[in-house]
Structure formats: structure tokens, C-alpha cells
Symmetry: C2
Subunit: 341 residues, 2 copies
């Protein structure tokens, strides 16, 4: 494979190369890449901004993460935060630091994924920064969105009696990660063994190419449902439920038998001798949305398969509990991913 | 000195600790830290956004950079990009990645500097991300600002005959860095020798605590001067002049004897056997503003000492040249800092 050293282009040559094919999709993008800063005009809408850092060896392992998927994911996880505010994503800014072990061809692959995500979510890449790192690949992504004045949804609005909803299904990303980590160990011990991952496409897709649920925000808007609170599920359902209860000063009751778990996820859990419910509660990186709606909005959900009612909101003194299939009630405890442990 | 491990707080405990004393200064900050994303309302103004990554070992050396200064600088260099668009800085978002060699006390010091800069520039910290790194300290700062519709200034508006202006003085940061690097070598060879840096306060301040020239933007606004083009001087005057000429499709003539160089900078250059002009042209990190104004705006500059007219804009085919004190004319070449070389 060809290898072009980044140094041969220089910093500005590199930026020109990576951004030369950008086509602006949003009227709100006044000035994009190529000046000291980007200029945006959201025409009377409020602006929503978030930033995430992804660090090699902490958030991803390049041994089994294709760079194109990584580029897509870097955008998707930030877009997910914008969606969790009930806003529409419009722009991203990307900061990258990488060592000289990365070639121009490797960066091009990464940007292919970035641009694929930009196109899918309808967002413009409007700026960034590229620099060197002493070690590893570091991605800083800032996502920007817009929302009609005061239509944003916080973590703090859930009220007693509201229905607790989850989009899509849970636990798949965690099982995909578990599988890839296991295959990595097998490979390190016997590099000639080729893994057969054909049957596990679903869970591997969940960890390597997560999607932000922009479609759910669109659905809720069209159905005339304004969630009372919302958060995206990046660290695991338990952890996010506790955030939502804490900020809203409420408790909740969650039903184990209502948790949305895909058949492929369930089968993979059994293979690994794991409890599918535990994977759904504590496995992170699903990037689904957790939100609450008023009971009177229940009918508006209709018969979409993509939103599950998993429980309801209670008084703060009732705390957050889960009712198991066996009929026993347990306190929900945070077991999500903590970068500092 | 006390040392509290970050792990003892957890990610959310850490964020709570670092952000508990925030006081919002801008009406445009609707929702700050503590949700999936921040919400801003710039009331009919356009939004200006920029991001910079600062990587330990590439952009700073913690051996001689106090963490408080580093926090201040991380904010200042991003605010500088907002100012370079002729906009007013309003918010920042901070992403940090650090290894476990950093204690809570160390982070507190860093944030002291961040908050000092926020107060000085009147910006709100509205969000961020903290995570671990395998090695070193990595800072991602996103700055947001506002500007009245179409009052932003790009790199591309300079016209033949416009006057080339520089704020403050140049070369000091480069000499400060040279001095600190030299003292570091002395220390590594003989750790008991205490450096005497009292006489070099000015140049050390230029590298360790640069200021964004928000005051210049305020002055230009009050004086009724709309620059035709503008860029901040982060990589060195030569490099920035070439950017401006390229984007504006013009040339320029720069006068060596008009370059603003502080007396302390000049003395330090002589001590190091360096040419002060070369330091002003090629030394980076001064974070002054380079801009062009129409000739008819010359009177409006008045007798402020803080803006120097250093040359004028010519036709593109004349290229960018400098006229030396000796009367000879040389092509200006980029010798700024390139992270990839």
C-alpha cells in the first residue's frame, strides 16, 4: 500500500487536502473551514454545542477498529449529544492529534468515515485543528446544533407518572466489544487463526458503527411529542437513569421484561455466559436515547417498534428500582464505564 | 503537598468539583455545564466557533509551564481566534485528557487559570469532557463568540493600497521560549543552579501568559474602523502575512523599521545572538492581530501606541516583500512553526 508522509504536505497542505471536497449542506453555515474560526447563522434558533474527546487506548483500539468506522463514530457520538437535547445537528469541528506512524492514506480513510457521517446526519464540517501527538491518535469533536427557542429538552424535567422510554435496543455494543477483545487475544496468541465473525455482524456493527438517533428526534417532532427529559445512553442504561432521576429529583420503576434486547444480542450473551439484562443495564456505547413522556402522549407513540416503554417515574423517595422477571425489586446502581477507575 | 487521586471522585464527581463555582456572565448562555450539550441564544447575532488542541510535549512543556498559566493560555489562544474574526468571545467548552500522574490539586491549579481567563475575557465555561490519556496532558478548547450579522472579518478582504497593521509587539514569545528552553538544559545538567529570570519577566510573560487582543477589537469597533482582513499571529508574522496575501489574492510591502519590537525583546535577542527582526518575523505564539484597513481609516487609528502600521498591500503579482533598514528588498517566506516537520 502507498504511504505518503504527512510531513511532506505541511500543516496547511494537509488541511487543504482533507477539506478540499467539502460541500456545505446547511444554510446556517456562513463561513466554514479556512479562516480563524467558522461563522454560523441559526436565524433566530438557539444554538446547542457539545464536545467529546476520543483517545486511542482509552476509547478505541486500532487493532480492530477500522479508521473509516472511527471517523464515522467520532461524528455520531457527538451528534447523539445534540439529539439528546431535542436539537437538530448542523455543524461539526474536528481536532486531531496523531503521531508520525499515521500516513496520509490512513488519515484519508478516517476522513472518509467523517464525511460519510456528515452526509448521513446532514451536518457540515466547518473547522478544526490538526497537530502531532507524542503517542497515539486523539480526536476532539465539537458538534453544533439548533433548536427552536426553548424547545430543548434537559435531563431535569421528568415528573411523577411520566413514562420512561428507550429507543432501539440495548447491550449489543458491549457484546460486540467483548467479542472483539476476545478475538484480539486469540489473534495475539495465534496470528494465523482467522476469526469468523459473519454470524456476529449485528453486535460488531453496534460497537464499531453506532448511529445517533436523529430519526427518533424527527419522529417525536412529527408526532407532536415533547419529551419531559432526555439523555443519550453512552455509559449504560443504569448510569443514565440515575443521572435523569438525580437531575429531575424523581425515582423510577423499570421492568426487566420490557428492556429492548435484540435477538442477536441475547444469543451472544448466552455464548459468553453473560446475563443479557446485565449487558443492557451496564454495557455502554449503545448511543440510544432514554427519555420520559407524559402519559397523555402514550397514544402518539403509536406502534413504532423503535421506542419501548420500559417503566415509569415515581417520587424521589422511592429511588430508582428494577422489577425483575422473577418479581423481585432491586435498587438500580450505576455500573457504567468510568474512565478514571 | 496534598495529593487527591482523581479516581477517588469518579468522572462525574470530578466534573461537579471543577465546575461548582461557575457564575454565568453572558445573557447568551441559556444552559451551561451539566447536560448532554450547552444551549446558547445569541439573539440575532451570528455565531463564531473555533477549536484548538494543545498537546503536552508538542505545544507545551510542563517542566517550566505552571498549570495555572497553561489553563489561562488554553482559553486565551482560542479567544484570540474569535477576536481575529472581529467577533466578541462569549463561551468556551473544554475537553481534557490526562494520565493518572495528575492529581486533583494539579487540575484545580489548571482550572484556576481557566477561570481567571474566563473572567478576564468575559466568557462562560459551558461544557466539556474529561477523560484519561495513556500519556501526557491534552487540552481541547472550543471557543464561541458572536458578531452582528455580516460584521465578521475574513482573511480574504485585503485590497491594493490598504494599510497593513499589527497590534502590540512581536518576537517576545519566541525569545521567552528560547530562554526557558536554555534554562531547562542548564537545570537538567546541574539541578542545584537556580536561574535568575527577574530581568526577563517581559519575554517570559509573553510565552507563558499571552493575551488575546479583545481590547483591539473593542477599540476598532469604537473608532468605527472595519478592517478589510484580519488574522491572529500564532505561527509568526511571515507565515500569517502569506496566508492573508494568499486568501486576499494580493501582495504587500513590509518595512523592517516599522516592525514593533519591545526593548526587552531586542535586548534578549542580542543576548542570544539572534536578529530581533528574524524573531519578529518567524517567532510564533505572540497572539497579536495582523489586519488591513482602508487608507481613509488611517486618521481614526489616532495616536494609540498599540497599533503599528507596518506596510501596505500591493498587487498579487508584486508578491509579499520586506524592505530592510539597509534598503534592500527580500521576498517574505514562511518560516513559522510547522507541527509536522
Amino acid at each position: 500500500m502507498e504511504r505518503t508522509e504527512i510531513g511532506s504536505l505541511g500543516e496547511f497542505g494537509l488541511i487543504d487536502h482533507l477539506t478540499k471536497n467539502i460541500e456545505i449542506q446547511n444554510a446556517s453555515t456562513v463561513i466554514g473551514v479556512g479562516d480563524d474560526a467558522a461563522v454560523l447563522d441559526h436565524f433566530g434558533k438557539q444554538v446547542v454545542v457539545t464536545n467529546d474527546l476520543l483517545v486511542e487506548g482509552v476509547h478505541f483500539d486500532l487493532m480492530y477498529t477500522p479508521l473509516k468506522h472511527l471517523g464515522y463514530k467520532a461524528v455520531a457520538v457527538n451528534v447523539s449529544d445534540i439529539c439528546a437535547m431535542n436539537a437538530t445537528p448542523t455543524q461539526i469541528i474536528l481536532g486531531l492529534a496523531f503521531s508520525n506512524r499515521f500516513s496520509l492514506e490512513a488519515l484519508d480513510e478516517f476522513y472518509e468515515g467523517v464525511y460519510a457521517a456528515c452526509e448521513h446526519y446532514g451536518v457540515d464540517l466547518v473547522g478544526g485543528d490538526t497537530t502531532t501527538s507524542q503517542k497515539g491518535f486523539i480526536i476532539s469533536c465539537t458538534a453544533i446544533g439548533e433548536v427552536a427557542p426553548d424547545q430543548y429538552v434537559r435531563r431535569s424535567g421528568a415528573k411523577k407518572g411520566d413514562l420512561l422510554c428507550v429507543s432501539g435496543d440495548l447491550g449489543g455494543a458491549y457484546l460486540g466489544l467483548t467479542l472483539l477483545e476476545r478475538e484480539k487475544q486469540v489473534y495475539l496468541e495465534a496470528p494465523t487463526v482467522q476469526p469468523d465473525l459473519e454470524d456476529e455482524k449485528y453486535i460488531i456493527g453496534r460497537i464499531l458503527k453506532p448511529e445517533a438517533r436523529k430519526d427518533i428526534i424527527t419522529f417525536l417532532g412529527e408526532a407532536g411529542i415533547m419529551p419531559t427529559s432526555m439523555i443519550d445512553i453512552s455509559d449504560g442504561l443504569s448510569s443514565e437513569i440515575l443521572h435523569l432521576c438525580k437531575h429531575s429529583e424523581v425515582g423510577c420503576l423499570l421492568y426487566e421484561d420490557k428492556l429492548p434486547i435484540a435477538e442477536d444480542t441475547r444469543l451472544a450473551a448466552f455464548k459468553f455466559n453473560l446475563d443479557p439484562t446485565a449487558c443492557a443495564l451496564s454495557g455502554g456505547e449503545d448511543y440510544e436515547l432514554l427519555f420520559t413522556i407524559r402519559q397523555e402522549d402514550f397514544e402518539k407513540i403509536g406502534n413504532t417498534n423503535d421506542i419501548s416503554i420500559v417503566g415509569y417515574i415515581t417520587d424521589a423517595e422511592d429511588r430508582a428500582h428494577i422489577l425483575t422477571k422473577g418479581g423481585s425489586k432491586h435498587r438500580i446502581e450505576a455500573q457504567g464505564w468510568n474512565a478514571f477507575k
